[in-house]
Symmetry: C4
Subunit: 327 residues, 4 copies
């Protein structure tokens, strides 16, 4: 493997990742933008924010969790009512059938927890009253929590950005360029959008291999408004750390491109951001994006086809810049 002279490019050290070869494993950033990192050494409950777990889980999982909580609470309280004695719940006919009694206690519990309290069953002894009074209190607190969680879930600022599946090495201005295309896929609108691309690659050989980070300059790194799709273009010119790096070199260098998009969202009136990364296997070498938007038939609006955001066609690339390798 020929090693391009990359020494003259200043690597950056403030990425927050380590440059040591043998301390980090796998890709740095997952496809969804989260960091590929596992924390240990403190208890699970201290390491985890239950609130954020509930905020970020899929919708059906969230509602299922709430429903399970509701069911488990009812089972618990129904058991307590049975232990106290079913005869303390006026209106329940005690037919000495445990399952039947449990059912009735269960439904009394659910009527208490939700505060619907029909009243055809009601607590009469001190014990049952204490438990019921506690249960309705817990019920209200729980649903207050759920109200907050639901609100937190749908107000969580998200960028709703869709990235192209592949990173393209495309011909551009007679040279090679790194291209990624993105668009917002909801009816949201970002303004003052900034993109930052960081390249992580291994340089040196064998034991001396070290991971280095390079900021990749973009032709346009900030746009006023992300209305249509946006193609991020890094031209591989003499200033680029990828100058003279061939397809094979890229494979050997264990490349990872980290993309970070940040903008101001109209919906949330908040700064939103999204990250993703591309590793070697996600590179389309010698390819060009095909247009993803066109004018509507009646010429009154513009159509953005999100299903064609990742579409590209194969094209010839200019030769890898030789001078860089054999100066």
């Amino acid at each position: 493997m020929m090693q391009p002279k990359r020494s003259r490019f200043k690597s950056i050290e403030n990425t927050g990742f380590s440059t040591s070869n043998n301390t980090e494993g796998g890709r740095l950033t997952n496809k969804d933008g989260s960091i590929n990192l596992h924390k240990t050494g403190i208890p699970f409950w201290r390491r985890t924010s239950l609130y954020h777990l509930l905020l970020r889980m899929k919708r059906w999982k969230f509602f299922l969790s709430v429903f399970l909580f509701y069911t488990v609470m009812n089972i618990l309280f129904a058991s307590v009512y049975l232990i106290i004695g079913i005869e303390n719940l006026k209106g329940i006919h005690d037919d000495k059938n445990l399952l039947n009694n449990f059912q009735q206690a269960f439904f009394f519990s659910s009527q208490t927890l939700t505060t619907v309290g029909y009243g055809h069953i009601s607590p009469v002894s001190l014990g049952a009253n204490i438990v019921a009074s506690l249960e309705s209190f817990i019920g209200i607190l729980s649903f207050a929590l759920v109200t907050g969680l639901l609100y937190g879930r749908f107000t969580r600022p998200k960028a709703y950005i869709m990235f192209s599946r592949n990173l393209l090495v495309a011909p551009h201005k007679g040279q090679r360029a790194i291209m990624v295309r993105l668009a917002t896929y909801k009816d949201n609108h970002l303004t003052d959008v900034e993109a930052q691309v960081t390249l992580s690659m291994y340089t040196g050989v064998d034991d001396k291999k070290v991971r280095q980070f390079f900021g990749l300059p973009l032709e346009i790194k900030k746009i006023n408004s992300l209305a249509l799709s946006w193609t991020l273009v890094h031209l591989i010119d003499e200033e680029s750390p990828l100058y003279g790096v061939s397809y094979e070199d890229m494979r050997d260098a264990d490349l990872e491109f980290l993309y970070h998009i940040k903008g101001f969202d109209d919906h949330f009136s908040n700064t939103v951001q999204q990250r993703t990364s591309y590793v070697f296997s996600e590179i389309a070498y010698g390819a060009k994006f095909t247009p993803a938007f066109h004018r509507s038939g009646d010429s009154t609006t513009t159509i953005l086809e999100l299903d064609r955001l990742s579409e590209y066609k194969d094209v010839e690339l200019p030769d890898v810049e030789k001078s860089a390798i054999n100066p």
Copy 2:
């Protein structure tokens, strides 16, 4: 049509819009600031944020939607109670009249959904109890959602800016100037307010027509405090891309002025922004704003008349700068 020499003005490329003539249709930005764009290619539910839809719909539509949801839920659950058997709801007199039974099931459902639970009707069988238990659970979750939506609706940061109906081409310092007037129309107060004006126009002829974007510099582009009205003034001097562009040229160039205002709002303690655009038909050529505020009768306060914000009087304009056309 005479084509002014606009080549020496640097157009800007980071507007987020495309410069290609035949891909975009109609005006770029709607009057309310939204982008004139339609997204396709992914399912409707992925493209849409239901939360933001409910957040931005008109107030009466929102409350009607919630009421419809309430009604539909009650119809659904009433039907289920009827299917299970009306005799499982103690307190309902089953008079074999389907409509009457449905009515009673409907109101039992509403008492359960809202958790009012009077109790003169109550579920007695296993099936009815399960459904009622589920319904009160759904009721609480739904109203938790509505609580969140209501809160989200009235806390959504908005700039509450009113723009003048027309964009004026007014005489200013012996030359022509582009003027737009704005004010906040609620008792809100913006600080550190910035304005950005972008001009979109077609240059070149016929097939070679391309859309170009130009940032229009303002005499004052940032004010500390938007207390009164604010007139945004772009002087058409030699540095302006509109230098030498006559009324007729403007019509042919399919002009669109994009205005973007951003500030910090005291009410919301958040950054708010608002956009609008003016197309050719909204230009008042040869006009001047008349004052919209005056001192109160007792000299203790200032009166801002919002209904006169768009008021202007016709005035003579200086000649179009000839030198630019025939140098």
Copy 3:
């Protein structure tokens, strides 16, 4: 009145206020930081944000408003139940006494609105059921609104800054200086705090009087952390628009000092800001602040005495800079 040569000081034009003498009335900014401005020309409900009105009213007014709403709603619904016929509410004994019937309908209404629904009174006819079903729906929505308002009220970011009652003209470095002292009065803590002082004054005489605005530079205009009290000092040196302006000149010039403080608050994790203004009558001419904090008896903490924030003692001032007046 001698008019100091102020022409060489650049006035600023981006304050958002007008410079015309006869359009604005009274002080520009009220003591509480709100703008002294009245808007007309659009209907009250469009001009007003009910939400923000409810957010900013005093606590007792807010709770009283909610209570009145609750009472009025109950009166309204009780009337409807009476109109439909009290006999449609099972459990109410109709003793042909209107007041008595109204009372019972009123309490049934309150049990429905709050969804407490004891059930000893319950709706039996179609009409009563429809109204009750609607009322419980409205009840839930209303309390959802109140939940949001309460949350909005106590999370509204506020700077909680206390300003000294007076603006001092104090001796400083052998010259005169403008001093104002401030501190946060709650257990909140601001970081990256910036202050901006703008002076509004009339220059010229009689008909030619115009209001001009000047930014007053501060010795320290940004502090990392507002822990103790902070004295904002503007030195009246040759660069100051107040150079050579005597006490009498100040009175004639209809001075107004606008203070704007902005910082990041730990409690709210948000930017907070507060404004105030000082007019001529609030100037203490020839005065110096006395210390407002000291070490605690046991030397383990620092005591900030907020009741002494405005305390000053009279001191002699250096002569007004003559050179500025008679050069």
Copy 4:
């Protein structure tokens, strides 16, 4: 004690703390980042934000407070019902036993406050109805408050940063350096993280002792992403105010290092910050952090061991820079 020549280092004056020796007591910033300050002179309720008190208290204290409030309200209302007369609550068997009656009134109260309202007990007289109507109203408002508080509690933006227990004076590039290590301990991820270190120390002797503040420059003061741990390094070179300051000098100078970290959090989509401070007794002089992260066994991820964040080993330090003391 030898006094290093520190006069050539510019101290900073915008820290918000006073430089006077005898006005402040104890450490400036507590370990948890709060300011060591006590405010007096205005009433407790004006000085305190109850909302923020409830927001920041420990979880168990918060829930206990809510539960106590619930219990106290029930005791109050039960007493009122007893005073009005237990016979006004239909369904309660008045057996002339005060304790028994109180219990039943208590549980009726809890059923009203939580709006569960079974209805086997119900108010029948005007007085009881008024109180019950008021209680259910208060109940709804209270739980609206609790909903808001709970939401406020779990959405309060926090940085979740763990700092090393000690500040290390470590060898670095042949000189001494000040090192502190930090990491986020939850599954949160900060971007654009900035660190600011301020050194507070006494200079001069005896009566002339004054506190001075110095900003300590860091080798890397801003990182794009706080993924792993981050070691903040201040090199004690000729530019450092600690140049030539020996261990003994540090002790005499009553050092305090103030750390302030600020970043953008993905979870909260908000700026978060955290402060801490190190005093002399928390310095490990001659020490070096041992690595706290390593590659996972299967090389697919990185493990960050939070329990080893503070771990260091003793190492030899280079001599204190003599030239600074005896130039």
